[in-house]
């Protein structure tokens, strides 16, 4: 009994939009009249939402001894920042220029912290230790700024407002190969230059800091982030060793032009004490001025904040339960027709099989999207404020990112449901389909990120090529190249950009649908 012998008696009425609308209606009717599927999809949304709220209500991770409230320093863009350094500064009113020659940048790292002996320090190369010139709106946390600097391992750079970063001259700094730095302020615009000889200058960048007051602070700074080294992804979900470091830089030929009302420098340990824990034992912040040479020692970082808080997908754990329910429904939406023989009736009524598959994909995708949206929107909109209220540190996230995480999670639910539909149409067997889809989607994520048993390289590869790449859409904060961090899947950093990851999952769904459409035409029902 092939579809050819049962070709529709009313071929004319199946053409055009009207035919497809009826097909959609038929598939919707099939979906909504199977009670188990409707319940499964509703439960999927509810579990996502309720577990999100539960996580928010229960988690008191930050303060084991009662409620407390973290404040996360935020920059001008609203993102989390770290803003600790030593600053030798004086006021700058109106426009002006500061020029300096950097002749050295060295760092020490604390080593050998043992219960028996005192900590020692040794010289080290800290790639993102930095020192140079800065113009800032003030020394309060998260102030607007622009700076040109020499770094331990990334050449000369201009950075601004914590996230901005542009490269200048390459290579390190030494007495034999000094680096000249210059910052110029005109109104709200600050321009950074560098030079190897003090004669030929290259502009690195110009940034606008809107709303800068007439008097700002300008001068020399030094800072150095804690040394981190990734030890293993396996040990307690991706551990790293860290140690305090500091940076000491020498400058001479300080030149000032424009409105500099003060007559001396002030040394300030910005947002941290001169001997705070970020300094290696036995060292402290400060500056010396002798014979035209200024030596500045500082520790900390002026950069986006990437440790100490949770991203906003923290409350989405329940979504994985919902996802499995939706995958099972997606698989059954087609395989149940094969098991019960309904597929022959379906194809008899609508011989253009590709259109049946398209109608099924649209209905299933829409239902899964709605369930995913309800679940993830509820889990984040209700769970995250609860988490914050319980004293948990959550990275501040822009509305756009929040919308991307919520809508993206819903879209991923739909894409993976359609993937299950496609695989189901190819395999025509419910259990086989569910197994293939879950092991292709959930297992790579499990082995690479949630329960990391694979080395980082293999984990990254899995999250690039498998349908699990789409989980990247949940990533709440970006990985910053100007911060040395533990950017591994187990820390919620995915190898692909959010939309690129979703595109990989979409490609898998499209591939499964295309193969299914081809096989539906070729095979008997």
């Amino acid at each position: 009994m092939t579809a050819a012998t049962l070709a529709s008696p009313r071929p004319g009425r199946l053409d055009g939009d009207d035919g497809f609308a009826r097909l959609l209606h038929a598939e919707w009717t099939k979906f909504r009249t199977v009670r188990g599927w409707v319940i499964a999809v509703i439960v999927a949304a509810l579990v996502t939402l309720l577990l999100g709220v539960y996580t928010g209500a229960r988690s008191q991770n930050g303060c084991p001894y009662g409620p407390c409230h973290f404040t996360i320093a935020t920059g001008p863009g609203g993102e989390a920042v770290t803003d600790t350094y030593y600053f030798v500064h004086r006021p700058l009113t109106g426009g002006g220029t500061i020029t300096v020659r950097a002749t050295s940048l060295t760092s020490v790292v604390e080593t050998a912290v043992t219960p028996q002996g005192p900590a020692r320090t040794q010289a080290a190369l800290v790639p993102w230790s930095k020192a140079g010139l800065m113009i800032t709106a003030g020394t309060g946390q998260g102030s607007r700024y622009a700076a040109v600097m020499v770094t331990g391992g990334h050449g000369t750079r201009m950075q601004w407002n914590y996230t901005g970063d542009a490269a200048g001259l390459t290579g390190g700094v030494s007495a034999a190969s000094p680096r000249w730095l210059r910052l110029t302020r005109v109104g709200d615009v600050i321009t950074g230059y560098d030079s190897a000889d003090g004669a030929s200058w290259t502009k690195i960048g110009a940034v606008t800091l809107p709303g800068l007051t007439s008097t700002v602070q300008a001068g020399l700074f030094a800072t150095s982030p804690g040394y981190t080294q990734q030890v293993s992804q396996q040990v307690s979900g991706g551990s790293s060793t860290g140690a305090p470091t500091d940076a000491t830089a020498s400058f001479d030929r300080v030149g000032l032009q424009g409105g500099w009302p003060g007559d001396s420098w002030t040394g300030t340990s910005v947002n941290g004490g001169p001997k705070s824990i970020s300094y290696p034992a036995g060292t402290e912040a400060g500056y010396r001025e002798a014979g035209g040479t200024v030596t500045v020692t500082g520790s900390g970082d002026i950069a986006p904040g990437v440790v100490g808080a949770s991203p906003i997908d923290q409350t989405l754990a329940g979504w994985f339960i919902g996802l499995i329910a939706v995958i099972v429904v997606g698989a059954l939406f087609i395989t149940a027709e094969y098991r019960r023989g309904l597929i022959r009736v379906t194809f008899a009524a609508s011989p253009r099989r590709g259109r049946v598959l398209a109608a099924k994909a649209i209905i299933l995708g829409a239902v899964a999207f709605a369930a995913g949206l309800a679940g993830s929107a509820g889990a984040i909109a209700l769970g995250i404020p609860l988490l914050r209220g319980n004293g948990n540190a959550i990275y501040p996230t822009s509305t756009l990112t929040e919308v991307r995480v919520i809508a993206g999670t819903a879209a991923l639910t739909a894409v993976l449901a359609v993937f299950a539909l496609g695989v189901g149409a190819v395999l025509r067997h419910g259990a086989a389909t569910v197994t293939v889809v879950i092991t292709a989607v959930i297992l790579p994520y499990l082995l690479a990120a949630a329960f990391p048993v694979l080395p980082v390289a293999a984990a990254d590869w899995l999250l690039r090529v498998t349908p699990a790449a789409g989980f990247a859409i949940k990533q709440g904060i970006p990985a910053y190249s100007q911060v040395a961090g533990n950017y591994t899947p187990s820390q919620d950093y995915f190898p692909l950009a959010p939309w690129a990851g979703l595109a990989v999952s979409c490609a898998w769904a499209a591939l499964a649908l295309a193969l299914a459409a081809f096989l539906l035409q070729r095979r008997d029902a």
Binding site: Q234, V235, I438, A450
Partner: protein
């Protein structure tokens, strides 16, 4: 019981899918294990990798195939209506379930042993070349080493218990797709939710009660202190899950109509 066993064996043996599933379970386990061993590198010679655990990574995938095999033993009969015939011929339903459990156990034991031996052999051949071997202070992967023997034997038992858990789940749900979804969800979701819990104590408890996270503690040969649960206790947790599923499935099988 003897007749029941014979009947179940005949059914299982004559299914076209059985040899393919068994082959797939062993082959996928060994392939993934070998790939994980090949991807692991320790140039410094001082990494936290557990050679036995790395060599047995394939169990994560192989268990899914074993679960399908066990689920289909029951759900396949419900799908085709064969169950009515089976229960008419053998009205003692618990005997039927016990016979199915015995057959599935036997098949999984053999397949699991092949999969585990192949995986450990691949690890033994591949890992020393990647900085994880006797020349770097790691013990050789050999059954003369008690923890390795425990990891190997335990992994085979783990697969058997996964099969029994799946059999119980299938008897409860009857529908194959729902059963396999429930089993894989139970296995894979505990660690994902534990990782997202954001609270070390809650995570640890979830890993202690999760059938996969607890059961696979049997694979650890180094760093036992950092495991959520001790090896045999972990396998015991999985055994409790499997026993509960079988008991509940058996009770429902007795109570409900057969379709």
């Amino acid at each position: 019981m003897k007749h029941a066993l014979h009947a179940e064996w005949t059914k299982q043996r004559t299914l076209a899918s059985t040899p393919w599933l068994l082959l797939a379970a062993a082959a996928l386990t060994i392939i993934v294990s070998a790939a994980a061993a090949a991807a692991t590198r320790c140039p410094s010679g001082a990494c936290a990798d557990d050679p036995a655990k790395v060599s047995l990574t394939g169990i994560y995938l192989g268990q899914a195939v074993v679960a399908v095999l066990a689920v289909m033993t029951v759900s396949g009969e419900y799908g085709t209506g064969m169950i009515s015939l089976t229960l008419t011929a053998m009205p003692r339903r618990l005997t039927v379930l016990a016979a199915k459990a015995a057959i599935v156990t036997g098949l999984t034991l053999i397949t699991g042993a092949i999969a585990v031996l192949g995986s450990l052999l691949a690890g033994r051949l591949i890992l020393p070349g990647h900085g994880i071997g006797p020349s770097h202070g790691y013990p050789a992967l050999s059954f003369s080493d008690d923890p390795v023997l425990r990891a190997g034997l335990g992994s085979v038992l783990y697969l058997v218990l996964i099969a029994l858990l799946s059999l119980g789940a299938a008897t409860m749900t009857r529908d194959a797709a729902a059963a396999i979804g429930a089993v894989l969800g139970l296995l894979y979701l505990f660690p994902i939710i534990a990782a997202a819990a954001g609270n070390a104590t809650v995570s640890r408890h979830l890993e202690q009660i999760g059938p996969m996270t607890a059961g696979l503690a049997i694979q650890a040969t180094t760093g036992l202190g950092s495991q959520p649960i001790s090896p045999w206790a972990g396998l015991g947790v999985l055994a409790a899950w499997a026993a509960s599923a079988l008991l509940l499935g058996g009770a429902l099988l007795r109570l409900r109509d057969a379709n």
